[in-house]
């Protein structure tokens, strides 16, 4: 197994005044099942300590490490090196300002998320001594929505977002829908008001890149479709 693969990594350091460039590294395949993150760690620890990237949980649940590998957005920690074509081209998430190397500025992404009021909004007080009731069927509506880890893989893969940075983007919309369909929530009106905007749901052209990109196998397009239909239903 003394094989190695080439990582062609996007490098950019704002302090060096140098244009972005790609540096090739040889990564040794030490064991089967190595992930792209293991490769990046190997480079950082053994070859070039200046490489910067984000990571935390290393098991695909925290959403730190969305990057673009061979032209596709993914989480480095759950992408097997052996499933990729050599050389492996590693880039930061597209369309976001690059802070350094693979680290991008996600401020805009987070602000879009805050904008859709991603928290339970209730009008009446909850029962004093027990949980609000929600049937398993009602709870099932949240499946495929609440699992979002805010990794930004979807939004940064969306050509509509590239073209129009004011677009809310699939992740924010999916999270909005997560609350709108929650049987305990009373904030649908407020949220739909915000989303029913030229930069809201209507900028989605059902391109489906977001669905291809989502590492948690969620389906933002479907959620956006629900939002559109709901708004249309309420209007006409």
């Amino acid at each position: 197994m003394a094989k190695s693969v080439t990582f062609s990594v996007f490098r950019y350091d704002p302090e060096q005044g140098r244009k972005p460039h790609y540096t090739d590294y040889q990564v040794d395949i030490e064991r089967p099942g190595m992930m792209v993150l293991d490769g990046l760690n190997q480079i950082r620890w053994r070859q070039d300590g200046t490489l910067a990237y984000r990571r935390s949980c290393r098991e695909g649940v925290c959403g730190s490490d969305g990057i673009n590998v061979n032209g596709v957005n993914m989480l480095s920690c759950i992408t097997h090196i052996e499933d990729l074509k050599d050389p492996i081209v590693v880039q930061p998430l597209p369309s976001m300002p690059v802070i350094k190397d693979l680290v991008v500025d996600l401020t805009d992404f987070y602000e879009k998320f805050y904008l859709v009021k991603p928290y339970l909004i209730t009008k009446g007080p909850p029962p004093s001594d027990r949980e609000r009731l929600q049937t398993p069927e009602q709870r099932k509506l949240l499946d495929g929505l609440y699992e979002c880890i805010l990794c930004a893989c979807c939004t940064t893969s969306c050509p509509s977002y590239w073209a129009d940075p004011e677009y809310l983007g699939p992740s924010a919309l999916l999270n909005a829908w997560r609350f709108i369909v929650d049987s305990r929530d009373d904030g649908a009106d407020e949220r739909l008001e915000i989303i029913n905007n030229r930069n809201g749901a209507w900028r989605c052209h059902t391109i489906l890149n977001c669905v291809e990109a989502c590492p948690k196998l969620l389906n933002p397009t479907e959620a956006i479709g629900q939002i559109k239909k709901t708004i249309v239903q309420r209007k006409f």
Partner: protein, 117 residues
Amino acid sequence: MLAKYFGSGRSGAFDWYFQRVSGVGLLVTLFLHFFVLHYATEGPLTYAKVMARLSSPAWKAIDITFLVFAIYHAMNGFKLIIDDYVHGTGLRAILIGALWVLAIAFLGLGLLTIVSL
């Protein structure tokens, strides 16, 4: 930054919905139009053949529906594209305004043609 998301005029719900409605409408009328024109009519198109068909009121009605759908759909489609790529509010207003003028002009022209035949 919130301000951007509020009160910027038309929401887009109407545009979106009727893009679909007109699209499906078009699918039907366009099919008829295309089929009749290119397959159902025998041999080379002549003035007489076209006029004969067009002067029947039923055909006029169909063609008018087709025209309205098509103009709306195309104009709205172009608006969608302008919305995507033009971010300056002023420029966008001008372009979309121009689009409206163009669309109405061609609608008039088309109607005139159909009715006057």
